[in-house]
Structure formats: C-alpha cells, structure tokens
Symmetry: C2
C-alpha cells in the first residue's frame, strides 16, 4: 500500500504520528500547499516523504498519484477540496478515503425545510463509475463521520433488533487557557465548523431527509467519563446522510455539544456576514470573510499544550434490543487531551479524528475490509475496526441511557 | 470663507446637503479618496466642487488648501486621518475643524486603570503653535463630541452654580428593517464604533482621568420624546477629555446606549480578534480584520430608507442649580429619521452629526465665534449656537431627571 496524504494540518499531522507506529504500508507521501508543513509532518519516519500540491487541481492529484505509484489517497484538507481530490484519485486508478464529504448547497426556496444538494451527493452521483472500475471511495472515515458510523453498524448487528433513532452526539469539556485564564479558541477547524453549523441541519425521518433552522432541537446530553451534561443542537453532518443508506432506522440525527458561547459566536458571525466563504472587496484586495476569521484565531493544531479536558464522540441508539425489550444505548469513544499529548504530541480532537483512517487503511491493506463503489464506514463489518481501535491503545465504551 | 471638506461618506454628504441651504460661505471643495463619491456630494450646488485626495498625506492636504485658497478645513473621515489633516491644514495656514479627535493608545501596563495617550493628546500637544500662529483648530464639533459640549457649556453658564457630573448620554430606538424584518445594521461607522467601544473607557473624576474595563457601569437611562429606557455603558469619548478643560465639574462621563445586542456583537468581535485595525495575513493578501467587518456590513449612509425611529444626544448635568437647590437636568437634541429623510434625504444619525459643523462654520464666518489655538466647543458661547440650531429647524430640549 502506497498512500498519498493530502493535507498536513492538524489532522494530517496526527495521522502521520499514528501511522508511523504501524507496519501495514510501504510508503506515505505527504502533500500540502505549504511544502514546509508537509516536510515537518513527513519527518517522522523514513517511509514518509513530502511534496507541495494544489489540492484544488484534480490534474495535480492525478499526476502525483501516477508519479509515486499511489494506491490510496487520503484527503485531509477542508471539504472545499473534496471533489478535485476525489476526481484526481479516480483518474489515477487509486482508491480514495476522506473524513468529510462533498459540500451541500441549500434548497433555493425552502432552505430550512427541504434539502437542496446534500452532503456527499456529488460523490454518490459517481458511485456507479467507481463500482464499474472496481475502485473504492471510502467516504467519511474520520471520527464523526467515521467511528460514529462504525458504532451504528455495530449496534445494528449486535445490540438491536430494530432501531428507532441513530442519534450521533458529540461533546467535550475541553478548555483552552491563555496567559490570562480560559480563552476562546476553537479546537477544530473554524472553517469547517462554520460550514457545518450554519448550514441548515439535516434530519432523516420516516424515509426522507428534511432540514431545519440552524441550532434546532436543543437538548442536554450527559456525556460519560466525567464530561457531564452539555447542551447539544442539530448540525448538518455526514452521518445523517450515510447511516440510513446501509442501516434501517426511523430517524437519524447529529447533535453537536457546541455550548452556548460557541453558538453565540457562530450566530454573531452569521449576523455580520463574516461566515461567508465568497470573497468581499476590502480596499484593494478581495478576501473571504471566513478565511479572515480563521486567520485571526490560533491554529487548533497548535493549542494542545494549552488545552485540558476530554472529547467524546458516539452514537445514541434507541429501539428494541436483541432480547425484544426497549433499549437506549450510547456507544462512545473518549480521548483525554493529556493522554494524546503525552502519547503522540497531538491534541485530542485531531488525534481522535486521525486514528480512524489509519485503522481503515490497515483493514484495507490486510484484506479484512474490501469493496468497491462509494461506501460509508457502516458498509463494513464494525468488529475488526473496533478491535483494532482498542489494540491501538484507545478503547471504546457502551452505556445505557435513561430516557 | 472657502471650505475644504475631507470625506464624502455619510457625514460628509449630509454636511453638503445642509450647507447648501446656507449663504455664509463662498465655496466648498469636497475631497474624498473616491472621486466619484466626492462628485456625488458636490453635485448639490454650484458653490461646490470635487477632487480626489489621499487623507493620510498631510502634504496632499496642504497642497489642496493652497491651490484652492482654502480658509477652513473640515475633517469628516475616520479618526485614523486626524493628524495628517490637522497638520496639513496648519502648514497651509488654514483653520481646522473635526468631529473626532486624534486616537488614544492604551496604557502599556494598566490599560483599564490609567489612561495612556488620550484622545486628542496629539492635537493638544500642538496647541501653542496654533495659538502663536493665530490659527484655530476647533476640535470635536459634531454631535458627540460637539453639541453635547455646547449643552455642557450652556448648563454651566445658565442653569447651574456648581456641577457635580457632566454625563453625556446617547441613545436611540432606531430599527433597520431588511426584507425579512428587523436586521442587524449599525447606523454609524462600524470602524469608529469599534474604536470607541473597545478602547478602555475614560472617566474624569476628582481632578484626574482614569480608565475602566470596556462596557463598565451599565445604567438604564430613560430618553425623551418616546425613545424610552435604554441600557447605557461607559465608552471612550472625546467629551470626557474636552469638558473638564473648560468647565468645572467633579466628574465627567460618556455613556452610550448600545443595547445588549450591539454590546454582544462587539464583545464577540473582540474575542475573535476581528476588532483589530492592524493587518493579518490571509493567504496571499494582508488585510485589517476591522476593515473586513466594515466591508461585510451595509454602508450606514445608505440605510436611511430602511431605518425608523429617533436618535437622541445630550448631557445629563447634576449639581446645584442657580437657585441654590439640587438640580438634575438633561439637555438634549432628538432627530426623527422620518424627518431627516423627508427634509434632507439623509438618515438621522449622520444628519445630527453633520448639522453642527455647518452651524460652527456659520458662527465663525460671521464673527460670532472666534479664537485661536486648539479649542473644544465648550470654549465658545453656547447661546448663539443653540439659537442657530433651532433656526435650522431642529430645536433642542431640556428635561429634569429624577435621581
């Protein structure tokens, strides 16, 4: 297996740190628009090398694949670049993995009732081509989407006979401290967070997808391992588009434990138009307000030493258990920032995202997982994935949730 | 009198509309970095002409003054440009007026306790030169500072024997409506609003100036003419630096009726670093986040048709009345947006700012006001100013305030 990793930001760098301890691959080429950043991430192991790439160019991705005999492309840049990387990998005959799917576009008339172009639609539209070519695009294989979808598959196979709701719930008690105490600093890409939180949230219900106003259906979820209760709201996320394609459920949701301060920041950015990805004219230059917001905040990958607390990803499943009784269960994965920093030198949010594509690539390399077409993580057997996650030193958990 | 108006934004354009109805001047040259904008403002009357100018260049200002035999320069651009225009006017031997003073810089060690460089310090440092040259710099002659300082002088001369506090209070019930109902849109320059609201507020007390945390000493003030109660907080403003130089008072404050939504927006911009005037690198360009915020919001001068409500400026004076009894009085000026739009085609906030330099220039032109040095509005007799304000069709009011 010869891997092309595109993106040496927070998640990409954590990926190289985790992969460097494994033996399943022959080579990893790290590509970034900043060669220096790629070189830094690649310096970890002799099987890694670095190169500069323009991720917006499918041709550039294809050329890199061919030049380096790449078998698998892992996309670790923000979701603006999904389609050129996806297309570039296909043209080169490589398999493809990503951690976020092609972007949505709101419904022109009823954005808060009906979906327009949905997350991943542009990729699923190409599924037959990938199938016919015998190539695999494994989409959404980070932590959320990714591990959350694996949990859903596990619950469907082993814990439940019928499922009412697959409800992804993400929360943390992370605090970032500055010189003067706790400070505001997002622990994940603000570009992506704005994209997913301000788009109309999508919900699967009774056989169809619909959308709502942003931040809808607030709910306090009590997270495990000391994190405790966090206010969660509906957010547009890939799992809602992936899970119902392979798993039977009446309802599928994604709720993000943003907390009231972050929700307020996002609402204010939207009110001022500072969430816009399109450029505005400022004096002599054209610039995207969202890029300016990102440039004003610290790079989340650099915050590990100033962070404390734990982050939790998981899926809350309700329905009928295999014993025929009503069941309400949360399958989850918690990472403590102190542990990920001590063990890997990467903060917990990016570490928790990056470990999953390493595991998936290992399962593909040893033939445990195989397939072709455009597939989500729930299309594969969950057990070997979860076993390997535990073997990587980061076990998962199950708890019953009072309803 | 030959006037050079620098800045054809909201206030500058309203100034030309008001001045066009008066006969006291011979010519007004309107200068802006955008020639088109200057031409539009100058199209109102044959005594007006237009030119492009770089307001950051004192030499450019001096050259314009000499070329057009300018006697008075009115600065109507944002306060970044005070010093080059002030210096440029002086070098040309012209008198100078502005509506905001040279910028402050926080105290390096105790920004929320002690003033550093105060508003206007850079201008007052040059007062002796202006005096010696027999030239007048009339600083802070908009509405606030400006009319508020005139009110304070009137109170000191005619209503009070001793003054405890001169408390400027500014509030409105303005609403901006968009296609989908009320919308967030500042009715005054967001650049200036960020500057004055996020700098440490300055307070005059017992013979010295000190500073506080932003948004300090919240207080609900009940504004007249149907505006009603508005939450006001301390804000850095020129009056606090001007009034104690000429008027005896134990305390001087400025409180701005921002309202909780605007305060929240400003706090969020500050939290994210989007209030910064210095540039940040965004991809290939350098841009000031504060300029990006301004570019994302509508130009306040264009909002008049979508605004409704009234704006109020005034000073709340407490102390001992001329009859020896305790007194608590608010002297104020209210402008209804419907009136200013119908009468002048300019929204009420910029109109209320712009009318004051027209009146001051008229008083200087006919010799009612005269002086040299760097002087605030309270250095002149208030009565002819207030009489002329009424004669312009926009009367002022007085109300007693329960304490």
């Amino acid at each position: 297996m010869r891997i092309l990793l595109i993106g040496a930001g927070g998640v990409g760098s954590a990926f190289t740190a985790i992969a460097a301890r494994r033996t399943f691959f022959e080579a990893i080429l790290v590509a970034d628009h900043l060669l220096e950043r790629a070189e830094k991430a690649a310096a970890i192991d002799s099987r890694f090398s670095a190169v500069a790439v323009d991720a917006s160019s499918a041709e550039a991705v294809t050329a890199l694949c061919r030049e380096h005999a790449v078998t698998h492309v892992l996309n670790a840049v923000d979701p603006r670049f999904v389609m050129p990387i996806f297309d570039g990998a296909y043209a080169a005959g490589a398999d493809y993995l990503d951690m976020a799917m092609s972007l949505s576009r709101p419904h022109p008339d009823s954005p808060y009732e009906l979906p327009g172009v949905k997350l991943g639609d542009d990729q699923f539209a190409r599924a037959e081509e990938w199938s016919a070519a015998g190539r695999l695009a494994l989409v959404g294989i980070g932590v959320e989407p990714g591990l959350s979808d694996v949990f859903a598959r596990y619950a469907a196979d082993h814990l439940f006979s019928t499922i009412d709701e697959l409800g992804v719930r993400d929360g943390s008690n992370l605090v970032v401290s500055g010189p003067a105490g706790p400070t505001f600093a997002p622990t994940f890409s603000i570009w992506t967070t704005i994209e997913e939180c301000l788009n109309p949230p999508v919900v699967w219900e009774d056989g169809r997808w619909h959308t709502t106003e942003p931040f809808s259906e607030p709910e306090v979820f009590d997270f495990p391992e000391g994190i405790g209760p966090v206010e969660c709201v509906n957010v547009e996320h890939e799992e809602v588009l992936l899970m119902p394609r392979w798993l039977g459920c009446r309802r599928a949701t994604f709720k993000y434990g943003l907390g009231s301060e972050f929700i307020d920041v996002l609402k204010t950015l939207h009110k001022l138009g500072l969430d816009r990805a399109e450029t505005v004219r400022v004096g002599e230059v054209e610039v995207s307000p969202r890029d300016v917001v990102a440039a004003c905040l610290p790079d989340p990958a650099t915050l590990g030493d100033r962070m404390s607390g734990k982050t939790c990803a998981g899926v809350w499943v309700t329905g009928t258990g295999t014993d025929g009784a009503p069941r309400s269960t949360y399958l989850y994965h918690v990472v403590d920032n102190d542990w990920s920093m001590a063990e890997y030198g990467h903060q917990c949010v990016v570490w928790q995202t990056a470990v999953n594509p390493v595991i998936a690539l290992e399962l593909l390399a040893n033939g445990t997982w195989s397939g072709s077409g455009v597939l989500g993580p729930e299309a594969f057997d969950a057990v070997p994935f979860l076993d390997l996650l535990t073997a990587y030193g980061s076990p998962w958990g199950v708890m019953e949730v009072p309803r």
